[in-house]
């Protein structure tokens, strides 16, 4: 007797698919697809919302606007993966937490910075990498 488990190979979705699960995230990723970095901000109290959400956690307003940001910031923290946890990513690689000049923090990958050169406080700026015709990822390189 075979089991359900061994009769079906596990299906591992590409991690990029997680990006578009929520409706409130759609404008963000559409803009990234056009190589623009825009963040959601509350129309009433002007609080940034990251990740995008249907309601402002500060004033509970349902109104929001999409605001282009500079794409500049500093590395707030970072981690490296000596071994890959997923076949879509080739180890070693690094993940950085970037604090944008506007305040919100984004998780991303460094571009053109070796893992042993990464430093907390390093100034970085956004670059875009196309994944498909209409889907891109935002990444960060050293600020010029």
């Amino acid at each position: 007797m075979t089991t359900q488990a061994d009769s079906e190979a596990p299906v591992i979705p590409h991690p990029a698919l997680w990006a578009v699960l929520y409706r409130s995230s759609t404008p963000f990723w559409e803009a990234v697809g056009r190589h623009e970095l825009t963040l959601q901000r509350c129309s009433d109290c002007k609080t940034w919302r990251m990740p995008p959400r249907p309601m402002c956690p500060r004033c509970q307003s349902a109104e929001s606007e999409w605001v282009p940001v500079s794409g500049r910031g500093t590395i707030h923290s970072w981690v490296t993966y000596p071994e890959s946890p997923h076949p879509a990513f080739e180890a070693p690689y690094a993940v950085i937490l970037v604090e944008l000049d506007e305040g919100p923090r984004l998780v991303s990958n460094p571009v053109g910075i070796a893992p042993d050169e990464l430093e907390i406080g390093m100034p970085v700026e956004v670059v875009f990498e196309d994944v498909s015709d209409d889907f891109a990822l935002y990444k960060f390189q050293r600020a010029g």
């Binding site: 007797m1 075979t2 089991t3 359900q4 009769s7």
Partner: protein, 143 residues
């Protein structure tokens, strides 16, 4: 109309875990066994790691069943939207009370839906809807 499958649509497999593995292994060999607590002499279904009556975890045994029982209740699957697409409608799912007292569900393989009634004598049989899958089923039995 006997039970018929629609080729090309896989039948959902049973989930086999350590508790029910001996049951499905026996079905593979066309044997029908039930789980019993040897301390309380009570049968139970589904299989489990602990006797729910005396909480013993080491008195559980697998006992050959007579394979005989009676239809305790049944459902006729007659509408497309309610039926499994891999099986020809109408088909019947019977809930059978075995002579040992436990109840199991399966299909009845050799009866028209309007032949089936509560109290109908049935016995275990086996079929293989697709390669590598053996299921226990029920068929008519003379009372």
């Amino acid at each position: 109309m006997p039970l018929e499958y629609i080729p090309g649509i896989p039948i959902l497999r049973p989930y086999v875990d350590p508790d029910n593995q001996p049951f499905w292994d026996a079905v593979d060999r066309h044997e029908f066994v039930l789980q019993r607590c040897s301390d309380c002499d009570v049968y139970f279904q589904p299989p489990r790691p602990m006797c729910p009556h005396c909480l013993s975890m080491d008195s559980l045994e697998w006992v050959p069943s007579s394979g005989r029982g009676e239809v305790y209740s049944f459902v006729v699957f007659a509408a497309d939207r309610m039926a499994y697409p891999g099986m020809k409608i109408p088909y019947v799912v019977v809930l059978v009370e075995m002579e040992e007292g436990v109840r199991l569900t399966a299909n009845i393989v050799d009866a028209e839906p309007d032949e089936v009634y509560i109290g109908m004598p049935v016995e275990v049989t086996y079929n293989s809807p697709m390669e590598g899958l053996t299921l226990y089923q029920f068929k008519k039995r003379a009372s």
